[in-house]
Amino acid sequence: MVGTRKGGFILTADGKRDRWDITGPFFAGWEIYHLKGSPVDPNRLYASQSSSWFGQIIQRSDDGGKNWHQPGTPPGEPTTAPDGSPKGESNKFVYDISFNTGKPLTTHQWYDGTPHPWEFKRVWHLEPSLTDPEAVYAGVEDAALFRTTDGGENWQELAGLRGHGTGSSWAPGAGGLCLHSILLDPGNPKRIFTAISSAGAFRTDDGGETWQPINSGLHSLYIPDPTAEIGHCVHRIAMHPARPKVLFMQKHWDVLRSDDAGESWQEVSGNLPSDFGFVIDVHAHEPNTVYVVPIKSDSEHFPPDGKLRVYRSRRGGDDWEALTKGLPQKDCYVNVLRDAMAVDSLDKCGVYFGTTGGQVYASIDAGDNWAAIVRDLPPVVSVEVQTLP
């Protein structure tokens, strides 16, 4: 499932993964930040559809992407409940301003350090529950975490994240103040990891009520205090479900690893040609095999030397090998955005990523060889994979 700046696409193949059917664009003309399926009901898909003109829409499919609908009030039905209260709508993301949980959450920092009110802009990432197809988490800009438990009709903020104490000093990165990573611990349903640009990584151990920053060991030269508790521009975090205490992070600069659920981080950039980048992901069957796509710098968002190279470490970082077969090795100046890499769970792990040039590349042998599935989509924002039986 591929989200692009001008619509969503679904790319389908059998287990051989050598012939692909491409359907779409779905929601043509809209930015599709993310599409993702429920792990417990693969026919249940959710999509974040947004535009600068008309705001946020959430779309849902109950048949694997053939048909989509907004999970709000059907046409012709009253938009208020019998008691007069407004019904929920799938695109209604309203920050919690209640006295008990939302009152202190009035402003974050703007780029110039001045207070700025929280303003909902869009959903960057949708993370369906591991156990309930009706439950989904949404990471939004300005950074907050929302949850639905009714299939996307109503969304409530988990305000403990913004309200845990540092929220008023969070500041946006160039892409906005976005919550882009949501990792659900398969062994502990009350543990969730999130990451925000540019505030850092956070963890809850009580299902989202209370949160703590987990940024010890991060070192960011672009902020006044390079080892501050928050303010780090984390671009992406990843985990292997079999080893949920081990996290990997692609930061604005630096690739890092934590072996203690984020309590501490160690840099594992090793021999990468650049430790700037956006994506990071983990092999489906080898928890210590990690993938990144180095990007030249924060001002030059393209691969070093015009060579599009995925780097793989089989040792959980530090020691990286370039994967180049089938990828352009000259004159390539695309970017790979933070949600635009995914892996499948077939025996030979497939790895997929999309570029801002509209290519979607696939490797069916864990990265040794690559081929483009499609070359001319709009700029790719996100890539997700479903491995169907």
Partner: protein, 98 residues
């Protein structure tokens, strides 16, 4: 019957072709027209006015009878020609982009 024109993306969301026809009870104001539109087409809630503030989204504009009504208050009474359906109320997406 009030006639409303929508931008193409909103027509698609509302699953309508051409103009939308609305009945508005009482005085036809900017606010009551938008309320009626959103009541008939709930999927448009939040796309024209912000859910939380009810303010017009920045890149959406309102026109009728050669007048720009984008910056008018919700309680402004719309022209008779809109109320009687001889002129459409136009909801327009701002021209923007490259």
């Amino acid at each position: 019957m009030i006639r409303v024109t929508l931008p193409a993306h909103l027509r698609k969301l509302a699953q309508v072709e051409g103009e939308v026809k609305l009945e508005v009870q009482g005085r036809v104001t900017l606010g009551s027209l938008l309320d009626a539109l959103e009541a008939k087409y709930p999927m448009l809630r939040g796309t024209i006015r912000d859910h939380a503030t009810q303010k017009r989204r920045a890149l959406v504009r309102f026109f009728a009878c050669q007048e720009d009504l984008s910056h008018e208050a919700p309680d402004i009474v719309l022209p008779d020609a809109v109320a009687d359906g001889s002129e459409p109320f136009m909801i327009v997406g701002a021209i923007a982009g490259g």
